[in-house]
Symmetry: D3
Subunit: 244 residues, 6 copies
């Protein structure tokens, strides 16, 4: 099974980190194909960068997705997720989408650990868009720049643990989700200090993508997720243009 | 990997049908252990039977769950699901819970095909309890007794297809979920006649249970899903009593 | 008028306390018949015990309910309430259900005082299940074990008053509901220290049950609250078995 | 016990009809004091009349409420209900408020039968204002002018029964509430033709008012239901002016 | 263009302050006609005063509204707004309604600064009534009596700024709305100290009323906003009586 | 005052139609600057085209927005609206956003007329994203291709009127909004046949944009609408790149 791990950020270093975590999470026989966006934000961090990232994500999967059995949109913001689902016939999952649904399957409510308050606002909008607001116990920020977190993740563990504990003790979270590509690989380092499951996007998305490949849902031929055809679209890359 | 398929109904015939579908959905190396409740309703079909079924489910898993890597509560009503999750250290999924989350991962909204209007009311309550009401496009009944459906499922295909189509065309469903243990094995027979993915509980629960085993969430030691201890409980079976 | 006060916990002492409060709340001519579950949890306090308590509640009312004009399910968790409503022709109320609706009739929002944070989570789920989340100002825990509260309730009054005041001053509650069987009889002891009405389940359930007996709603013969018939159920007590 | 039945409409004939139903619903020892607004709409039927009716209701209860043990605001629109609750120390219930909460205590969802579609819109707003939208199965109009209904209610029974049945069969209502002062006395005439409980405001409000008198909630001295004091208000009737 | 600025409070001084702010906000060619209620509360501050104010608002606009191109109901509580909309053919806006929609058009969520906690509760009800609860970041009280605020607004600026900042920093508000007639004119004095837009009712209502006059929506002739006709209403002022 | 009318579709013909309607709606002294996207979909009609359109919208406004007093994102889908709001210091409105808020200011609920069912699904998502779902009476499709509608709009009037009437009569809409750039100019042709206000995006957006310019909200310097700075973004157009 071949899973495309498509990072809509342009930072290849983050792709590498996620790829390592993805390989660790994959079943025997699953191959991870990590790819990085060719344009857009180094690390998506504002509403303007999100719009660019949505497009970069769609373009990247159009170019690299052929032959894959599943696609993981590998950014916290799940860039362009609904459009990528429409474009592809295979299962497509977003990092945050996967982690939220894994948390639901654990049971009860989930709390989110985000790097900054600004990300927290956007995460609340995403959770609402997925229809999961009533499962959301709270969102708390560690107040650390994602880049800094990536540079020395271990040094940040204390603040992550404190934030996760506050979600459990004050907000009643039954599970904690670490939001962001830079959190890949961190849950095992935190788990001993947090009394509920600690989840993260990459480690959830890979097994859930494998599961969706086995479930093998048919491709919609009606509704808003059916592939478009006969549309006039200009000025986009060849691979993407060929999808209309 | 050993997955317990626990049917809280007392009808071993339905267990057999689900076990066949579960084996078909399982990855190589996954073994299914099908078990049937020792008391309660033959086919859970009213609020009174649900309460008995919740208890039968908890009792059944207490007796049979030791050594399993995951548990599937194998009834449409997800009998006693939150309590079973609390009791066990391994992942626990319900049939309907699994199918709804698989439908969410497909994207957009889902519609439910139920056997009777009465089941439809309870399903709306369950969807609300899972926090997924905003993803629910509609619930439609085929108006067929589950037993009849089980006796001659192929004869019922026309009505199932018509109902599924109405969910797509009138309610805008992006996926259709067949609700009920007796629906196991039916999606492939219907898919060619429905223009969106057709999903069913057993075929979703097995791959998602495998995925959750790989994700391996820690067992909560705080909150409402932590195991109880030191509680005084009397008059229940030995296996269940040993869990307090 | 004969009202069954059915305690799904096995602790007869709590039944006695509630019976005393129920008699104080009853109109002249109303008789209270207090009964205690024969099996299950001494004091329901976890999701597993809730499932057992739902079944114990249904079994208890099946055995004791004949000839009663109304039934009160006498536990904070309203054990098996919907199923008991389905089973019986007479009005059936839960302790918490009654207190919440009395608080609504007072006007505005209500706040809940619970013994522990874990109960608070389950209460939020119950309030949501009753469709009353938008009337809920907040839930605050006194952090006292229910048994301790029962042992020396007066000693706990300070903490109860402080918690109730926080619901009024910080959460804007227009009424305060004390949650739990052990709270029976406490509101008059607290009221002078709290500037909004203080309510409790038993003292609300008895008058509301009397009112429902006078309203005399017909028994449903259609829908999910109509009595089941012709169902196959095995392994349950004779009284309950006779209801199918 | 003395209950004020305050009709904020100016039609004494409707007051008489409601008084008869109220006496039939009252316990021995309960006296009904029916009063009619001195100004405003004959039958409140538009948003403009509602505003006048809210004020007429407050004025009427200010003049007539002294010495009463409870107040029933006797119009479908529950005119000025929150303000009357604030003004009075005794329990205050609205016709529709009472019927909706009685329906909730029956269990499940309720459907509303209204005289016209325009009333239906306002009823949905009221149900939302009471926080009960998730219990509302549907609203259906009989398309009969309230006055005509009052003139010959029996002739209207067929249409009422058909409308009530549609709420049960198509919308899944577990109880049906007849909305409007002119519906007083009708449920017994309809019940044999409807398979779920049929409820109406007056017959619910009187027993629930009696219950609230027994529960005897304290009068709030803080929050938005505490009585105002020291306010400057001019140009209103003496009785109302004396309340500030 | 002539805009009626109708203050349903009886305090002419507040009308003067709002009129000054309204003239400052008006386009060239727009004339403001400020009028003050002839009866009711000096400053609406409780639920009882609200009901009187709703009626005073309707009466005032009935008397003064002829010939106007738009109406602004000039109180924080938007007194009688829906009824005034029904009565008039021209656009009708409330102070708070206008400010909330302007805040929505800015984007994201809004926070409300209110004078007292009691006002805050009513504001939450109003926001819910307008269907905008999901845009509400929070409500915070400055704890200053409106009259005091009006007496020396500049002295209150520090507390207003602190409160506004808390809405931004703790509640994540993307805009801050100052609630209340006495806030007219204050936003420019606060804006330098608050990092998101600070809005206020009068300054929003005048330009939005001008816009609605240009949009020129047709008057409804069906539904709950169509003018009533042939209704029997007695005991109200001549101008209002003529509207039925 | 200069308003940028930015069409994120590539069809200049639609821009011309909207520009004509915008000029008709503008106040004296307001100048409209119509511009058309340089790449992307001719007429945005699927989720994939939406993602491209969001980016095209951001790019277009980055290139053309300098010196404008307000921006109208001129597509039914409000392409990239939140990101454009973040980027610009002046007011930014979307076509649908403007029409929905104008409908709210009219009062009551609104119904949407869309060209196809697929657009209806996306519109429901947008209304939910704006937090206005509780104001939405219904969505109905005319079942006409937008291009056909544009080619001969008058021929489509019958179907539009029938659809609008169904929203009023069956769904209780208090206002009807015609969704889509091709609807510009149509409301006056329909209004005589529909008994509630008929609104459309361009005719609402221009006056509301003028109003927001007069309200002159400050530019946020904190939160998710503050402009980004110091971000690393590559591979985008020069004008857009200069905004980071």
């Amino acid at each position: 099974m071949l899973i495309l791990l498509a990072n809509p950020n342009t930072s290849a270093g983050i792709t590498d980190g996620m790829a390592k975590a993805a390989c660790a999470a994959a079943s025997p026989g699953t191959e991870i194909k990590p790819v990085t966006a060719g344009f857009g934000a180094k690390v998506i961090g504002s509403r303007m960068e999100m719009v660019i990232g949505d497009y970069a994500s769609l373009d990247l999967v159009a170019r690299e997705g052929a032959g894959c059995d599943a696609v993981i949109v590998a950014a916290a913001i799940d860039s362009g997720l609904r459009a990528v689902k429409q474009m592809m016939s295979c299962p497509v999952l977003g990092l945050t989408e996967a982690a939220l649904h894994a948390a639901c399957l654990v049971g009860g409510s989930f709390g989110l650990v985000v790097s900054s308050g600004r990300t927290g606002i956007v995460m609340r909008e995403m959770v609402a868009g997925y229809g999961l607001s009533s499962r959301l116990a709270g969102v708390r920020s560690v107040g650390i720049d994602p880049a800094a977190l990536y540079a020395e993740p271990e040094a940040a563990l204390d603040r992550l643990a404190t934030t996760a504990l506050a979600l459990v003790e004050h907000d009643g979270a039954d599970a904690v989700v670490l939001i962001g590509a830079v959190m890949a690989g961190l849950p095992p380092l935190l788990q001993t200090r947090v009394p509920v499951p600690v989840l993260e996007g990459v480690a959830c998305a890979v097994p859930l993508a494998e599961a969706m490949v086995r479930i093998a849902p048919a491709k919609a031929t009606a509704g808003s997720f059916a592939r478009p055809h006969g549309r006039e679209v200009s000025g986009v890359g060849d691979a993407l243009a060929a999808r209309f």
